[in-house]
């Protein structure tokens, strides 16, 4: 064999595997389909009475209609969903919902009062995580069939035994547990009394704007438009949410028009997109509260003056003007802006000298050592480093313990933290959802009936808890708002929390794909308004 032939052979064998590098399919997404590139590996179920993760909640929002809704057209106005109208008894204990006529499930079957009765009862009976949204109304597995009943004709009555303001109860009827499902389909898949839960994890029995076609875990969710939806057929026939774990890959898919939306881009990826005329980046207010929980079981943190000092040792403005720019804004309250009763409140600023003076008064003139458990991903790593640096200026020696988010939560729930840096998202669109977590602890024992955030931080507040519960009961809306304003100031000023930020969601989209607003919570993330030109 000649030298030339040998070389040709070698070159040929080296080139052979790369011969397939030919692009054989055009990239653009189909015109009747919206494609999201998103991290969706948090989905563990698409049964709306079980799903409690962000991505799963978004899908359920679009697949299931709910008794009441905050619709895409006005995120702030509570309107009827499956219910056409409702009435509240004078004592606020009984709510009667009139069901819309002529509604149909995806199967073609009519939506009946029996389906509504079944769905509200089922949320309690299957006893999954979101069940607490209804059990706080006094409903239990034992009594829910007596308290939620089809009352003949086209109405369903729901009686609550807890003392709650009607506005709060109505807001709960717009949450994920108030999703209405087809009883016949669910029961046809009942296995060992699970009310169809096993099957409904990855199938649907719904009447929402989209039908669930498939959920392939860690791969994609495909939805198909429901032409018979009560508010009209969605403009696009399909929505595909593809699991793309790496943000950089999301950006490439968007730029090549293989995705219409990229939902998890980092700031360094968003910045260069501003020069691309085919891409638009929009910012939407979200309702997550970013804060530090201070465990009063750790002696220095039990001192109110130390807590005051620490709240003055965070560079709130510096962070939102630098590495958090565009994604966060300062909000020092347990209620996010956009919620009923929320006040824009930011009494604390970085003031090292004042903080030092407070530490001297508290008997910690040389500072002390403290550990912060924080998730090991951005932006937590940057925020915790900034806090470490500014607290160090007053002698507080912060050691950061970066760990998996679930590990931080595990430590937090077990009250094993000193400081936990986390975020909190509301469960439904009412201030009680956050108040009941941050401002509720009248039993500081190790095994109380409930373990809200105040308990996790060992903040025993029986009196403030009563005030919080009174606000939840208040029938006068204006007075209720005032009561929450007072609570917010009290909790921010004295509580074991360093409230720092509220976040914005940044969504990058193709310029030709419009009409999507992720809403302040996942309950308002509607796909039915998306259009493509």
């Amino acid at each position: 064999m000649t030298e030339l032939t040998r070389r040709l052979l070698l070159a040929g064998s080296a080139a052979a595997p790369f011969a397939g590098w030919v692009r054989l399919a055009d990239a653009a997404t189909p015109k009747d389909t919206a494609v999201f590139a998103k991290q969706i590996d948090d989905i563990i179920s698409l049964d709306p009475h079980e799903s409690y993760e962000l991505s799963g909640g978004e899908i359920c929002t679009n697949v299931y209609d709910r008794l009441l809704r905050y619709e895409a057209e006005d995120h702030t106005k509570l309107v009827g969903g499956v219910a056409e109208s409702w009435a509240v008894s004078p004592d606020g204990k009984t709510l009667t919902f009139k069901i819309r006529p002529n509604l149909k499930f995806h199967s073609g079957a009519p939506v009946t009062v029996e389906d509504v009765e079944f769905s509200l009862q089922r949320a309690v009976l299957i006893g999954k995580t979101p069940a607490f949204l209804f059990t706080q109304l006094g409903w239990s597995k034992a009594n829910v069939k007596d308290l939620v009943k089809a009352s003949g004709g086209d109405t369903v009555t729901a009686t609550i035994t807890a003392d709650f303001a009607p506005s709060l109860v109505l807001n709960l009827m717009s949450s994920i547990v108030a999703s209405i499902m087809e009883k016949k389909v669910a029961m046809a898949h009942d296995t060992n009394g699970d009310l169809g839960n096993g099957w409904l994890k990855s199938n649907s029995a719904a009447s929402g704007a989209f039908r669930l076609v498939s959920w392939k875990a860690n791969e994609s969710v495909t939805l198909e438009a429901n032409p018979g939806f009560r508010l009209g057929a969605p403009p696009l026939k399909r929505v595909v949410v593809r699991h793309v774990p790496e943000p950089a890959s999301q950006r490439l898919l968007l730029e090549k028009a293989d995705a219409d939306f990229a939902r998890d881009l980092t700031p360094d990826q968003i910045k260069p997109l501003s020069g691309n005329p085919d891409i638009k980046v929009e910012s939407f207010k979200a309702a997550n509260t970013f804060y530090c929980g201070l465990n009063l079981g750790y002696e220095p943190l039990a001192n109110p003056k130390v807590r005051q000092a620490m709240k003055m040792l965070v560079d709130y403005d510096g962070m939102v003007k630098s590495f958090l720019a565009g994604r966060f804004f300062v909000q020092q309250s347990f209620l996010p802006i956009g919620f009923f009763g929320a006040i824009a409140y930011a009494p604390f600023k970085l003031d090292v000298e004042k903080a030092k003076a407070l530490l001297v008064e508290a008997g910690y003139k040389d500072g002390f050592a403290v550990k912060i458990a924080a998730p090991n991903v951005s932006p937590w790593t940057e925020i915790s480093q900034s806090v470490q640096q500014t607290m160090g200026q007053a002698g507080i020696k912060v050691s950061i313990e970066p760990m998996e988010l679930k590990a931080v939560i595990g430590q937090y729930r077990a009250r094993n933290h000193q400081i936990a840096m986390l975020s909190w998202g509301p469960d439904y669109f009412d201030p009680h959802t956050n108040a009941d977590s941050f401002v509720h602890n009248d039993d500081n024992s190790d095994n109380p009936k409930i373990k809200p955030i105040a308990w996790r931080n060992k903040w025993l507040i029986p009196e403030i808890t009563k005030e919080m519960l009174a606000a939840a009961r208040e029938l006068d809306t204006a007075k209720r708002a005032e009561e929450y304003a007072v609570l917010q100031k009290k909790v921010t000023d004295d509580g074991p929390y360093i409230f720092m930020f509220q976040n914005n969601i940044q969504v990058a989209r193709r310029a030709t794909t419009t009409g999507y607003n992720p809403g302040i919570t996942g309950d308002q993330s509607f796909f039915r308004t998306i259009r493509k030109s």
Partner: protein, 361 residues
């Protein structure tokens, strides 16, 4: 001696030469069984107990942060975490022996079903990657050895070093930027474009194969356009390793006296290098290839992350981060099976490539 072992004997007592051979075979089979059993036991034991001490609460992974204490306690009991650890392990072993790996908390499906879904995706990546590694890497290694110190050796060394030292994550992103985003030669992240999804019914789970079986050639070409980049990058990494190892083995052979003797006898250098010298390193190469294939099957996490490729590596990683212990254990057992299978396959191949191994048997 078993009945089966004596059946082949002519008449009367088995021939003395047959008895030891049958005994050896039985002994070897028993040895393999014991070895496989112990490996499994060790594998499940270590993974199980590591899974129980990681600082992530598997109950929280199911119920979420906001679950009530009642829900938390109920789910904890449902998945058996309230039992003593040895009891939990024993129950797990009994189930595994019956082919039940439990359900994944992330997907809600039986773990075995999940593994059967993700493993073909990984195979689809690993097989072409290994082919690239073998077909290109071995000739490169031979050329580097025969041109030691000269420019082909230096170029191959540089290519290999680059493949060794560049993080696969970075290579993947740069590859996507160049070949997908800039040149548009290949498909992007994912196994198919959205327009081609759900057309072919999975049979083997390998989309390129399934689409050919279904006669859906558009889907095949689209799947191929998505496959070529991640497979080439993984192939490049395996190529770098195989080329370096081949060079090293070949240098060892080229120093042997028989090489000089055969050349002196007038055999062509091509035959001496590619037949005699390379023939003598095949046993070592088979081991290297098997190990490379094993690592491609379970270690492509970063490639699968960058390319949104729903394979075994990504599945195990997600399961681990979500404390989905059943899935982690199931995935680990599968990886163990793969390695044991590859070891056994290597043992079978040795006699085919090396007469000395055949004689030893």
């Amino acid at each position: 001696m078993s009945e089966a072992a004596t059946q082949g004997a002519p008449t009367g007592a088995p021939a003395p030469a047959d008895r030891p051979r049958a005994w050896i075979l039985a002994h070897r089979a028993a040895g393999i069984l014991v070895s496989v059993g112990l490996t499994f036991l060790g594998l499940t034991c270590v993974t199980f107990f590591i899974g129980r001490v990681i600082p992530i609460d598997p109950v929280l992974a199911i119920v979420g942060d906001k679950a009530s204490p009642e829900t938390y306690a109920r789910v904890r009991a449902e998945i058996g975490l309230d039992l003593p650890l040895p009891v939990q392990y024993w129950r797990y072993l009994v189930k595994v022996v019956h082919g039940d790996f439990g359900n994944s908390v992330i997907t809600s499906h039986p773990v075995l079903q999940d593994l059967l879904q993700v493993f073909p995706a990984t195979l689809e990546l690993a097989v072409p990657a290994l082919l690239i590694g073998v077909v290109v890497g071995i000739p490169m290694g031979v050329v580097a050895a025969t041109h030691r110190g000269r420019w082909p050796d230096q170029v191959i060394r540089l290519l290999s070093l680059f493949g060794y030292s560049m993080p696969v994550f970075w290579l993947g992103l740069v590859g996507l930027l160049l070949f997908y985003a800039t040149l548009g030669w290949v498909g992007g992240p994912g196994r198919l474009d959205v327009g081609f999804e759900d057309i072919v019914t999975p049979v083997t789970g390998v989309i390129t194969v399934d689409s050919l079986l279904a006669g859906e050639y558009d889907v095949f070409w689209n799947a191929l356009s998505h496959l070529v980049l991640p497979a080439s990058i993984l192939g490049y990494l395996s190529l770098a390793y195989i080329a370096r190892m081949t060079r090293s083995f070949m240098l060892g052979q080229l120093r042997q006296e028989y090489v000089l003797a055969t050349l002196a006898k007038g055999l062509s250098p091509w035959r001496v290098i590619w037949v005699h010298a390379l023939g003598n390193v095949w046993v070592q190469l088979v081991t290297i290839i098997a190990l490379t294939f094993g690592s491609l099957l379970e270690g492509a996490v970063l490639t699968e992350t960058v390319f949104a490729w729903p394979g075994l590596g990504l599945y195990i990683k997600n399961s681990l981060f979500n404390a989905d212990l059943n899935a982690v254990l199931g995935g680990t057992v599968l990886v163990g099976v793969v390695y044991i299978g590859l070891n056994m396959l290597s043992d079978l191949i040795y006699p085919l490539v090396d007469p000395r191994a055949r004689d030893r048997q």
